[in-house]
Amino acid sequence: MFDIKKISEKISSLFGAKKEQNDTSVLKTMEEKDMSRVNRTQRVVQVLVKIALYAFLLTMAVIVLFPFYWMLISSVKSLEEYNLSVPTLFPEAFHFENYVEGFKTANLGQLFLNTVFVGVVSTILSLVITVLSAFAFARLEFVGKNALFAALLATMMIPGELFTITNYQTINDFFGLKTLGNQIGSKFLQEIGNWQNTYTVLIVPFLVSVFYIYLLKQNFMQIPNELYLAAKVDGTTDIKYLWKVMIPLAFPTIISITILKMMGAWNSYIWPRLVANDDAHKLITNGLRGADFTVDSMVHYPRQMAAVAIVSLPLFLVFLFFRKYIMKGVSRSGIKG
């Protein structure tokens, strides 16, 4: 006997299953179609978004670059062309003599030498101090180490302007030496006490940077202590160990510090203007801002722009060659120069 019920159930289940399968496959194809449509619209949206992204970024890049472009084209224009009622976006003729005149007017040669001297000397001395201090904090155990380090970090919170007022007094009359020299009539003491218009005043007050000590200390700490102990067992002196092991291993940080310190000398304005205004010690930013480009009672902007371009060029060259180090140093410091 056939169990019709069962068979019909089976058939219906089969059928139903098939129907279901059919349904799902229909659904699937529909879904796929939908998906592909979604994909297509998504892709279109994606492309549009990409175009918008590039359009935005390139527009911003043009705006960011425009001042540089304006500086360069203005620097080679003649004064007549610069002063045209409708400015030209590209110079009609290249007047490179503006560079010669701008260089002469702002006395850039002397300023350049002064600045490079101050930059190099202060960078070297500052590196020596920073390396020794970072080494002491990273490797040595001594009484009061943590308290001292905390105190150093605390000074970073205070704005530099607060120091400048007293430092200005200090360099005018170094711990009363000038006053004493005046009283007892000693030329020597008067000279030692007064730091105005010297290289010392441009170099010494800024030799210690707590931030650079901190940066290098962190770097030194990554070097395993076992190396130091092994070197000690071998009887290597600290200085030799520093020179042969620590400095080579921390070299990228040292390059970053060097570049930022040199750029700092190149860009420093406030302190040099306060304390060094004679030709022999004036620094380049101060000299450039103070230079008078007036010709026939009119500012000769092309010459001024040429001088600005000359001052900006070394910075760009350094950036071109040391981009990685600068960006790394900057991203960790958050300070300019």
């Binding site: 911003m60 201090s133 001594f142 960006m327």
Partner: protein, 318 residues
Amino acid sequence: MAEVLKKIKFEKWKGWLYLSPAIILLLIFTVWPIFNTIRMAFLEDFNTLQASRGAVFEIGFKNFEKVIGYKDFLTCLGNTMILCVLTVPLSTILALVIAVCLNSIKFLSRFIQTIFFLPYVTNSIAIGMVFAAMFNIVGSFLGTDNQIVQTWGIVNEVLRAFGMEPINWINSGSDYWANIWVMVIYIVWNALPFKILILLGGLQSVNKQYYEAAKIDGTSRIRTFTRITVPLLSPMIAYVVITGFIGGFKEYSSIVGIFGDGMGPAGEKGKLNTMVGYIYDSLSLHQGRASAAALILFGIIFIVTMINLYVSKKKTHY
């Protein structure tokens, strides 16, 4: 035995030997100034000239009262505040948008990134002079009957190309807000590179899984930005905002770059002077007042930083 003990004792103090150059310089140029500045700020009308002649100064708050009562100082404080309030949010938002865009492209991204970093490696005084030239109107007698204007300057020419009236941005007789906007544009231009660098660095370290999850959920781009990117970046945003405010309250050389030491358009000396400018102006004659102003500046920076830290602690997501 005695020698070994001596050596151990030396080892204990050797660190101080290595630190001695740094410590001596810090004592002279950092620690002493802190005490001396506080001392001078609370000695009424202190100045070095009279002090060297043996004058005695009373202790009190007179320097602070005088400084706060000065019209010049209030101008400086106002200028600094306005510049801060305008430039910090503007540059942060713009930098955030640029960083997010840079992070979502591959082709040319390093090249464009380098372009955006360029303003950082400039001399802010030198490029300030370029901005001044771009906004400068060559000619004189502006706004009078016998007006002689040779060239309106490139910025005004762009405005004129869009059919707008040229604006006297920085020349004599210019409007205060025109001056401020020039400064805002220059300061934002100058501040962008650092902020983009930090924010982009933050974006690149964000776990990609969050974005994939958002994509699967079909989250819109704007929602992804406000609900994922911004919260995950909040520590970096807090960092650039805090450093931005600290830098903003110390604004000085960018104004010198555009307006020169006069800190204002020709004939209006000190119109755009700032807190730091005020300190430098009174530095050589009125040390007591300069010190009081420096302490006020320190106080403001301290309070603003604390507020920022407090807000970011509540809002940041670590």
